[in-house]
Amino acid sequence: MADFTQIIETLIAGDSGALEGLVKKALDDKLAAKEVLNDGLIKGMDIIGEKMQSGDMFIPEVLRSANAMSSALELLRPLLSDEDMSVSGKVVIGTVKGDLHDIGKNLVKMMLETAGFEVIDLGVDVEPKSFVDAVKENKMNVLALSALLTTTMPVMKQTVDAITEAGLRNDVKILVGGAPVTPQYADQIGADGYAADAGSATLLLKKLMG
């Protein structure tokens, strides 16, 4: 396997220009685009996710790295198939009905995309039925729910129930998060997991997806 240390370090440093240069060089050296993606960029974002979880990296730095990754990805995109691009899973994400907060959700979405997940973002104030429809129509295998208000947490339960009623519960992993949400609440409502931040969410989902 080729050595992607420099690509990984440059990604962690968030240097877009330098990263693009390194990716171009890798392609010129005839390395496979898929390898550069998985063993370089996605591996780098995994490390960033861990650092975010452990408090060694902070949100603005993670955003900077994600932006660098996006630029680098544009160089690889023409050489990658659809399956190559979404290796990790297919996620529907949204903030539940009655809640307009989206900063956390957007961070999770960004981290998941850079970790190789395909993400459909339904936005904020999303009805349980919209989540069900999105999962069904797009054959998604992950549902990620966000809520910042204690008053909208019950809608998470309604959404999980709607998924079960639609006969989809075994087809999706359900992840919940947001400031008032707890692991206990996640268990209570029958979710598969809880994450406290975007870094942990990414790591947990990768584990859940096997």
């Binding site: 902070f58 949100i59 603005p60 307009l100 907060h101 900063i103 208000l149 204690t150 008053t151 008032p180």
Partner: protein, 265 residues
């Protein structure tokens, strides 16, 4: 500077426990401590209790007011709970908050109409979070006019331009303080009020950012804050900023705070 003491919030474990146990002593002590430290209003929030919120919010108002003379800042997203709490409140309360979100606006306007209640007007609408000063002003415009048309006086309106974290967009601090400045220029006699800690979400050493932020906002005209009054450094910062902004004649407050030992040894 209007200080709203933020500590009696049931999302804090100790407060939730005290509320559920109906522990008057705990609540009353925190209310007294906050007022002694300079709070003009005591915020009460029982939002975590969902259906039981109106009952608990009423209890909090009565308990706080049996200990301190100052009014409560009734903090809830539920108009039903607000109504119940206002009914038992002695004197003129502050309602935290109203916004352009249709349900909130429709249910709270009748409660506020023609009264002397103070109200925090949050720059939020059903369209989601405003990102720029312009977007905030557009919301504020409609919201302030909706209130004024229902005979709420401008002096009773405390606009909260919505604090968002700079960790996600480095311009969120600037958009906020610009809005504060424009509010003052657009509406004679209006007030502004906000909680500060959102600004530093996701970054280390949050108190450093929170304190610097309050100084910048005060310089642009912020005249109210929802804070922990027991945080001496924050209170010292606010007092210094007010003096520097020209709002402390003869540096009276600053010197009083100094003599009271607020600035440390």
């Amino acid at each position: 500077m209007l200080i709203v003491g933020e500590l009696i919030n049931a999302s804090r474990k100790a407060i939730a426990a005290a509320v559920e146990a109906r522990d008057r002593d705990v609540i009353q002590k925190i209310a007294r401590d906050q007022v002694e430290a300079g709070a003009d209003y005591v915020d009460v929030n029982a939002g975590v209790f969902l259906e039981r919120e109106p009952e608990y919010l009423e209890w909090l108002v009565k308990t706080v007011q049996s200990a301190v003379k100052c009014p409560c800042c009734i903090d809830s997203p539920d108009p039903k709970a607000i109504e119940a709490a206002v009914a038992v409140h002695d004197g003129t309360a502050m309602i935290n908050s109203i916004s352009l979100e249709k349900e909130r606006l429709d249910k709270l306007l009748p409660l506020l109409a023609g009264t002397d209640l103070k109200v925090v007007a949050l720059c939020m609408s059903d369209e989601g979070m405003p990102e720029t000063a312009n977007a905030r002003m557009a919301i504020a415009d409609r919201l302030v006019n909706a209130l004024v048309q229902k005979n709420v006086s401008i002096e009773n309106i405390h606009v909260d331009p919505l604090v968002q974290p700079i960790s996600t967009n480095i311009l969120f601090g600037v958009e906020f303080v610009d809005t504060i400045e424009r509010m003052g220029a657009s509406y004679d006699g209006i007030h502004t009020l906000c909680g500060l800690s959102n600004i530093s979400f996701g970054l280390p050493k949050r108190h450093l950012l929170n304190q610097t932020f309050v100084s910048m906002a005060i310089a642009k005209g912020l005249d109210g804050a929802i804070v922990n009054p027991l945080d001496k450094r924050m209170m010292a910062n606010i007092i210094a900023a007010e003096a520097l902004a020209g709002r402390d004649e003869y540096c009276t407050e600053y010197l009083a705070a100094y003599r009271a030992g607020l600035f440390g040894v």
